[in-house]
Symmetry: C2
Subunit: 329 residues, 2 copies
């Protein structure tokens, strides 16, 4: 789309920040990036972060924002067991945002990309009413692919990390939840600086048969629903087994509502045909793994061992059609 010379100079300036790459034959500066032939199958995903919808600038450093915009895409690649390779970035800028802010966003994005071997090969800057960062990310898969449709009755369901931290962090950032300093910092950072489980995804892809997997961007219950729908199965989730961080317990208590329904954790949920003890999986994946339930043939998602009250109300306790599921945040 038509740009002003200022927009061009900004693109050039930002992309130069990212330095020279080795994955691209021709990087930023032409109409397209040129990439070498891909011997492996490729993964392609796109995701967007919009100011006032997904974040507020006041919540954290612009560097973290840039990193997070990449992380949410990395997480999609991780969930398929892929290795992220190159990305292109569309930055929508509103009036009143200075060059310094853009530099800092790109600095964080560039650092996050470098950490996982991703090259930013092109970008675009456009005007808009709100700041938005949209990234399309390519990856490659050399072995098995982790798919949503691979769940089978009897599979054991696991998750990485702890659940609900980001949702609690979001509530703290937006003034809807209070916590002591340590918990506040931990939970806010889990929202502002999530980690994509790329290495864990790559290691999961070596397990046979290939596990069904999905990343937890929208909350356990909703993301599990995608696995169930695609695989044509049901699930039984043990509410008492959900991994809650000490900070979550300190700020929220034992109520697992946010752990079930809160999004943005970017942990992985996966299903194994042959159950492994969680400690062994924790060692081999390099991240805490918790067994939380099993795949059933019921066609429904059922929550068991839900002690106390869930803010989501009775449906969660009795099992319900996963297509209509979502506990209220």
């Amino acid at each position: 789309m038509s740009k002003s010379p200022g927009e061009f100079q900004l693109i050039e300036r930002l992309l130069k920040r990212l330095g020279p790459g080795r994955r691209a034959i021709l990087g930023p500066g032409d109409d397209c990036a040129i990439l070498p032939p891909a011997r492996a199958r490729q993964l392609l995903t796109i995701d967007s972060m919009v100011e006032e919808v997904h974040f507020k600038l006041a919540w954290g450093a612009p560097e973290a924002l840039g990193a997070r915009a990449l992380t949410v895409n990395l997480s999609d690649i991780a969930a398929m067991g892929g290795k992220p390779t190159v990305c292109v970035v569309n930055l929508a800028l509103r009036d009143g945002l200075g060059l310094r802010l853009c530099d800092r966003i790109y600095k964080g994005l560039g650092a996050a990309a470098a950490r996982c071997g991703v090259e930013v090969v092109g970008g675009n800057v456009t005007r808009a009413g709100a700041l938005a960062i949209t990234i399309a990310l390519l990856g490659e898969v050399r072995g098995a692919v982790l798919r949503r449709d691979a769940g089978r009755p009897g599979d054991t369901i696991y998750v990485t990390g702890t659940l609900g931290d980001a949702a609690a962090g979001l509530r703290i950032l937006s003034g809807r939840l209070r916590a002591r300093a340590a918990a506040r910092k931990f939970l806010s950072n889990r929202f502002l600086q999530p980690t994509a489980r790329v290495e864990a995804g790559l290691r999961l892809a070596r397990i046979k048969p290939a596990p069904a997997a999905i990343d937890l961007s929208d909350g356990l219950w909703q993301d599990l629903g995608h696995i169930l729908e695609r695989s044509g199965v049901g699930a039984e989730i043990d509410a008492g087994a959900l991994p809650l961080s000490a900070a979550y317990r300190a700020a929220v208590g034992e109520d697992p509502t946010l752990a079930l329904g809160g999004g943005e954790d970017y942990e992985l949920l996966f299903c194994l045909r042959h159950a492994f003890p969680a400690p062994a999986l924790t060692r081999s994946l390099g991240v805490r793994v918790t067994r939380i339930g099993r795949i059933t043939s019921s066609g429904k998602a059922v929550l068991i061992n839900a002690r106390g009250s869930l803010r989501g109300g009775p449906p969660l306790l009795t099992g319900f059609d996963q297509l209509r599921s979502r506990p209220g945040p």
Copy 2:
């Protein structure tokens, strides 16, 4: 990023509109699309169209908007001599936009994709303050690549199609220019329904040595500037040779300001080492081709034969540094 069930259903609904594909191993519905290995070098580009910045909904049919969002990306692939293959789409929706509108946008996008053999392999829907369509498009190049840095002194400069029509159309749509019905319709359509010169780009890539090329998204003068900067050369453009449509002449007259500075035409500008007569190129590229000037070693862009007054003012008439160039719209 976290989504509501409604957003998910919308993604599913929209992507189903696009039908099954043959380029993807796994299309929409998982965390990423899976693409087969690519034997050829690949091109990757991203571009975005934002409501109230690049378009208004009242200006035309939603189908045309969807098609145009793809066309602006196709044009980047065309400018490199590539064949577009697959894309992912990020749709940002504001309140008040109905499902019917989304369906119509995707219908137009899907039809445009089908016309040029592109498969929409994934997508994302997010809330935002304004409607925005961001597309990342992959392409492939089997032969030479048309690059911005390949211009050499002595090269002859050509453009496809006619220039300034889209800029005139934009002015008509936004009430800043009046024209009779036929010219109004032609010029508005040149803005609302541009054509990417994909086939012409593929044919250009067969010429040896590979021509320098760029697509005219930002206006001849600015886009030429990119070629000159990247190639380290200058240019002499014959104002009297610029191809103006009959509708442009009827609405704007002989003033070539919009043809020089107006964007969104999505024609190709290219530079040939060995000059061919324009009629022969017109036949072989399948689109009207006009010779408009030559590459020089001066390091400056100079406009010659500029009759009458240019709204851009004297700098255009005397030659100036292309890095600071842009005639006012």
